[in-house]
């Protein structure tokens, strides 16, 4: 199946298609850190004066939609999770109200022995209740063209 990546990008990349809000809870921050093997008390001890979320905590959040409504499908389901990149911009602390805005950041293909794979980079930008940026999470979703 031929995929017109340039057209897909023109039609779909850049526009915010979902906004969601979350609240950061102390138990979740602590358990996320401890289960990953964190030992630094500013990530594991809610009583620590500098207690905050570990750098990749916001990668746990998903919006109401993974892709924009009517985004074309090239395989069944959303495909598979090929990786995540987290850029940390500020601390996330207990009680923060987190706003996440989702958009398609990039679309590209790679072709190998198993055929053409479509990579969709879903970007979520997180900020707190004061509008201060917390992080950017780029989630690379892969669809196998024709499956």
């Amino acid at each position: 199946m031929e995929i017109d990546v340039d057209k897909l990008k023109r039609d779909w990349a850049g526009a915010t298609f979902d906004t969601a809000e979350f609240e950061a809870r102390a138990d979740d921050l602590r358990d996320f850190a401890l289960s990953c093997g964190e030992t630094a008390p500013h990530y594991t001890d809610p009583e620590h004066p500098e207690f905050r979320a570990v750098p990749n905590f916001t990668s746990r959040y998903v919006g109401r939609r993974v892709l924009p409504d009517n985004f074309p499908r090239f395989s069944s389901g959303f495909g598979f999770d090929a990786g995540k990149c987290v850029t940390v911009l500020g601390p996330l602390r207990v009680g923060d109200r987190v706003t996440a805005k989702s958009r398609i950041h990039d679309i590209y293909t790679k072709t190998g022995r198993s055929g053409t794979m479509l990579f969709i980079v879903h970007r979520m930008e997180f900020s707190n209740q004061r509008g201060e940026p917390i992080s950017i999470v780029d989630w690379r979703m892969v669809q196998r063209a024709g499956n």
């Binding site: 996320f32 289960s35 964190e38 570990v54 750098p55 746990r60 990786g83 990149c85 940390v88």
Partner: protein
């Protein structure tokens, strides 16, 4: 907090490897904190019904393990960016090893680049990544 200073970090330095706890009980603790409800992460039988060899460790838990590796090496280090590639699943109840090595130093920014790997018992690297770290 304590840890290494930028000047103390050496190019090619290996971070002390550690064996993360990916037991079913601990992965369940993680999925509870992360709000992940997919049974493939915390139920071996449900995962097998999906064609997997058993329950698998969530990708974002692997990413968290790799940032924990950095903080265990230097508790005051600040991870500015972490990028992980999920090549294949890590099985729950296996014995993986988290490893890292300093691959670059940026004197202007006073940051270092760290290559990150989670190795399985077969010696393969199902999760790899890089991080930019400030001190």
């Amino acid at each position: 907090m304590s840890g290494r200073s930028y000047a103390e970090v050496e190019f090619g330095e290996e971070l002390p490897a550690f064996q993360p706890d990916v037991s079913l009980a601990n992965v369940r603790r993680f999925t509870g904190a992360a709000g992940m409800t997919f049974p493939r992460f915390h139920d071996h039988e449900a995962a097998r019904k999906e064609g997997l060899p058993g329950a698998i460790v969530p990708g974002i838990m692997s990413q968290g393990i790799l940032t924990a590796l950095i903080h265990r090496w230097s508790p005051s280090a600040r991870v500015l960016r972490v990028d992980t590639v999920f090549r294949s699943p890590i099985l729950v109840d296996s014995k993986p090893l988290a490893k890292g090595v300093v691959t670059d130093k940026n004197d202007a920014e006073r940051t270092v680049e760290v290559d990150l790997t989670i190795q399985n018992e077969a010696g393969d690297s199902p999760v790899v990544g890089t991080a930019t770290v400030a001190f």
